[in-house]
Every structure is written in C-alpha cells, then in structure tokens.
C-alpha cells in the first residue's frame, strides 16, 4: 500500500529540498535525463540538477557541464562482464578513469549529459545501476566482499544482500527519505562491512530458539560519519535471516515517517536515534514487525578494517582468493578490463570491490594462483603492496569535488609511497585523507586521519591538514582524536615520519598502532607533534 507523506501536512516545517521532493520525486529525474540528453546541459534547471543524485549523478568541479556518476555494487560483487561494461564506460566517456569508493561503489568522472542514456543502457544490460547511488534514498548495500567464500563468515549473506537491494532499488515507497540512508550487512566475524558507521547494519549473531542454535543477525541503527560522526546503537533484538527484509523495511519506514525534515543538517537517522534512544526506536520497530526475539550472542570478535590483500584460502577447499591493492582506489578502465580478463582466465570471472577501495579476484583454483601472480598487471595492482600504500584511503578532493578545500587523492598516494621509502614497520597503520569535514574518506575510523583545510600565510594561501589519531571499529569502536596544531601540506611527510617514528621506536613487540595509542595516550603524540612543529618553525 502506498504510504502517506505525513510531513506534507506541515509545509512550514520543511526545508527547501523537502518542498522540492514533494513536488517531484527524485526518481522522476531519470526520465528527464533522457530529455536533457537531447536538449543539452544548458537546458537543465538548477532544481533538477540537484535531483540528478537520484540517478547517481553529481556535477563535478568546476561546474562546466561535466558530471560524476556512481554505480551501485551491492556487497562489492562484480562479474567479469559487469567489470568490462564499467571499463568500457570509463574508456569511452570517462577519460579512462575509475575510482573505487569506501562503500564498494565505482565512480566515473568527466561524463556529459548527452552520454547518460547510453551509459544507463550499458549498465542495465549487465544488471548494474547508478540509480539511487546518491540522493535521499537507500544507497548501495555495503557488505562483506568475501560473502560466500569467507572462512570467517557465519553464513553466506549473498541472498540477503540481493533481497535488500531488490527491495529498495527504484522503490517509490522509499525514494523520499529525509536524507541519505546507508545499509550494511555482513556475517563476517571481523566486521568487514563497518557496521557502526551505517544508518542500519546487520551483524552476525546466534541465538538458541526452541532448543536449537540459530544463526542470524543483530541490528544496529543510527551510525554515520560526516561532520558529526555517531556510532550506531545496537538494538535488543535478534533477526533470523528470513526476516532481514521485514526489519530493514520497518527501520526505513520509521526513518521516512519520523525522521527530521525541517533542517537538512540534522536529518540523518542518527539524529532521530540520538533523540529517541535505542529503546524507544525498538518499541516503534516492533510495532511494525511484531515481536522479535531478544538479542542473542554477538559473533563479532574483531575488525579486519576491510583489508584482504594477499593470497588466501577460501572456505571452499582447493580455491583461493587474491586481494589486490588499488592505490587510493584509482585505476584505469584499461586496468579494470584486464582484471576482468584475469578473473575469467584464472577464476570463474568473480571480482569483489572492497570498502578499502581495493579489489579481490575470487574462486581461483589453488594450482592457478602462481600463474596469476606472474601477470604484468599485478606489478601495480599488487597482492603484496608496500606497507603504507596498502592501508591508504583517500576521498576525491579538489580534483572533482565542489566541497573540497585541498587536493587529496594524488597527495595520499604520493605520501604513502614516500612513507614506504622512509619507514619499515611490522604493524599496519591505516591512513585516511579527506578534503573537508564531510569525511567521505572515513577519516574518523583511521589510525591516523588527515583532514584538509586552507591556511592564509605570508606567502599566500596554502593547503594544510589537521591530524587525528586512534580510530577503530569493532569491539571498543571509537573515533580518532584530534591533535592540536595545523600542518602545512608540504610539512606532512616530515611530521608523519616523526609521529610514526615515535610509534616504531617506543612500541612494544607486536603492539598495534591502536594499542599503542591507547597505552601512551594522545598526549604523548601531542608532545611529539609540538616538538616537530617547533623545529619546522625554527627552520623557517
């Protein structure tokens, strides 16, 4: 039954975007884009441009008629035909550029409105879509990229990812939410789908029901990063896999009907959850779903941060997956096409994108692994990346993003390469760089997060960064903490060498960066930073 837009009764309490969405559903823009493809960029009214997001499209910087498009890849599952279609779009329209995002999606740049009908068509032919990859609607479903092959998963979540994706994609019951809405689902005991930073997350759990141990999910609501990060709250319910869609529909309905629509900056589900608290939220949920069993036993035992580089055994005997590092998530369409070929030649055509901007080739018979490792492409997109390059994440930055204050992607790639030359370490350090507080590069969950700003100096305007340390998800999840003192971009290499050198020299054997931060405290890093900033100031 179609829902009633109850908020329409009080238009004086709605922001401008809400009024626009009441006049025209975001999904209506898809048909209009076919028309604009004929009439050209200049014919697109500003209000309609803002609805392009529902088609997965944003204007890129500077606003000169070029667009970015994001393609949904639920749980990161991609077959070689799909990869080839994506590569073809990049090659023919997007200057051969492909970015893998921190939600397992793929982004193209440099597209023009005339090209969208053909691109939509190419995507549809391989069962992919850019629709609702952006906008105030359920975005792509993030999941365990290893679903179905993971020795560390409770069960295969592939069917549930598909059910969720099919339920929400192009569903007009949910295409007008108060704000963006992110779902994650994973049965990995290492929390590989970053549950706590999603609006709705399903994580692995078991519960004894009628004397039988049943595997299912725990449910988390209200997580999200951006300028006001918030860790999702766990509800006191256990959900059997068959009821995942019911629960997701109910949570999403609550967001749609009770979420805040007056001010856009407090419209995300996290604000409703923070106001109501998990108990009230759960009461509302159960009104919609009927009684649900109480929480069972949580099966998450740690956090792998979404990294799978290297050669690993699958849960299927005789098969391996090879995790490849794509430095800061950027590759060419030509490289993606070659990955598709490798997936066909050595495996069964399966590829998986990761929320760490990397890629996995799955289902490779063990005896073929050695030959795959000799392939030329794996010299750059390698399963054995150098230390810092392996764990570096970056958002888009000023290259294409209208909100960015600084350049990020190439800088992060270069910086990681530099640190790889300067420092040898046993323990990984996850570096995330973002160009503004919106934090698309998930700065808050990094071991070391770098957030860009612009400083006015005697020599003009210069790019600079704030440093944050000690973020993690999984058990004891916490966001990283800011050190005081702004670092000019040119000084970043020296400052990071000093801070990481301090860790390397002082850490105990086997101690991770996070454990070290927890032991010595942020203050110890602050002392180091103050010292190196003082040295830099003296040298000027």
């Amino acid at each position: 039954m179609p829902y009633q837009a109850t908020w329409a009764k009080t238009p004086e309490k709605l922001n401008k975007t809400e009024l626009l969405k009441l006049e025209k559903d975001g999904l209506d823009i898809i048909e209009d884009i076919y028309r604009y493809a004929k009439t050209g960029y200049e014919s697109i009214p500003e209000d309609d441009k803002s609805l392009f997001k529902w088609a997965g499209i944003y204007e890129q910087r500077p606003k000169d008629g070029h667009f970015m498009m994001r393609v949904r890849i639920p749980s990161g599952r991609l077959n070689s035909d799909q990869a080839r279609a994506l590569a073809g779009i990049a090659r023919d329209y997007g200057r051969d550029l492909v970015d893998i995002t921190t939600r397992q999606a793929v982004q193209f740049h440099w597209l023009r409105v005339e090209q969208f009908p053909d691109i939509f068509d190419r995507l549809a032919k391989v069962d992919l879509s850019s629709f609702e990859a952006c906008g105030d609607c359920p975005r792509t479903i993030v999941g365990n990229p290893l679903a179905g092959i993971d020795p560390h998963e409770l069960f295969d979540t592939t069917p549930y990812v598909k059910q969720l994706s099919d339920t929400f994609l192009l569903n007009r019951d949910f295409s007008n939410l108060p704000r963006k809405y992110k779902i994650s689902i994973s049965a990995s005991i290492y929390n590989s789908a970053h549950a706590e930073i999603n609006d709705l997350a399903f994580t692995p759990a078991v519960k004894v029901i009628d004397g039988q141990e049943v595997a299912g999910f725990h449910v988390w609501v209200g997580g999200g990063l951006s300028a006001k990060p918030y860790l999702a709250k766990q509800l006191d319910i256990f959900v059997v896999p068959e009821r995942v869609v019911d629960v997701a529909v109910a949570v999403t309905s609550i967001f749609r009907d009770y979420g805040y629509r007056e001010k856009r900056h407090n419209a995300r589900l996290k604000y409703l959850v923070a106001d109501w608290g998990p108990e009230k939220f759960q009461e509302k949920l159960v009104e919609l779903t009927g009684e649900l069993p109480s929480r069972g036993e949580d099966k998450i035992i740690g956090w792998n941060a979404g990294y799978f580089t290297g050669v690993h055994q699958q849960k299927q005997p005789g098969l391996s997956y090879v995790g490849l590092c794509v430095p800061v998530g950027r590759l060419s369409g030509t490289e993606l096409e070659e990955l598709a070929r490798l997936a066909d030649v050595y495996g069964d055509g399966s590829l998986r994108t990761c929320n760490t901007q990397n890629i996995v080739i799955a289902n490779i018979p063990n005896e073929k692994v050695e030959a795959l490792l000799q392939e030329k492409l794996l010299e750059r997109i390698t399963p054995y990346p150098k230390h810092f390059t392996a764990f570096a994440v970056s958002c888009t930055g000023t290259e294409f993003c209208n909100l960015a204050l600084v350049e990020t992607k190439e800088r992060m790639r270069w910086l990681a390469e530099y640190l790889d030359q300067e420092i040898e370490l046993d323990e990984p350090i996850r570096l995330h760089m973002v160009g503004c507080p919106n934090s698309c590069g998930q700065r808050q969950i990094a071991d070391i997060g770098l957030q860009g700003s612009l400083v006015k100096t005697g020599d003009g305007m210069k790019e600079a960064f704030d440093i944050y340390i000690g973020g993690t998800l999984g058990p004891n999840a916490r966001f990283n903490e800011k050190l005081s003192g702004r670092i000019l971009a040119d000084d970043l290499p020296r400052v990071l060498v000093a801070l990481i050198g301090f860790f390397k020299e002082t850490k105990e054997r086997g101690e991770s960066f996070l454990q070290f931060v927890q032991r010595v405290g942020t203050a110890a890093f602050q002392e180091q930073l103050d010292a190196v900033l003082a040295q830099l100031a003296d040298a000027r």
Binding site: K263, C436, S453, L454
Partner: protein, 67 residues
C-alpha cells in the same frame, strides 16, 4: 557562492570563528580579514587564519559555532 567557515587565532592567543559569504577561497580570506578589521577596536593582530569548511550558499544554510 559559498559560505566559508574561517578559524582565526590572534597573536594574543584568543580565537574566533568568522563566517563569510564569498565565491572563492582567496576572496573568503580577504573578506574575513575585512570583517576582523571592522570588528575590533583597538585592532587585533591575526596570527593564523584557516578555512576549515565550505558549504554551497542557500537560504537557511549556516554553521553552528560551539562556545
């Protein structure tokens, strides 16, 4: 046009946040400097001025400054 949030530290270590409406980062720094000049008597000397966030300008857009 964008709304820029500019963090300012003065030579006496006191701090302020200045919000300006401008079309580019360079102009935002200039406008923030102008606002500061108007605001203080006797004048304060700026030690550091940093743009930490920008938002596309539209009616109702703004920033919350924690005190």
């Amino acid at each position: 046009m964008f709304l820029y949030r500019v963090e300012v530290t003065y030579t006496d270590r006191s701090r302020a946040e200045v919000i300006v409406l401008q079309e580019s980062e360079e102009k935002a720094f200039k406008s923030a400097g102008g606002q500061i000049e108007h605001h203080y008597l006797p004048p304060k000397k700026v030690q550091e001025m940093v743009i930490v966030e920008k938002k596309p300008a539209a009616a109702g857009r703004g920033f919350v400054i924690d005190l």
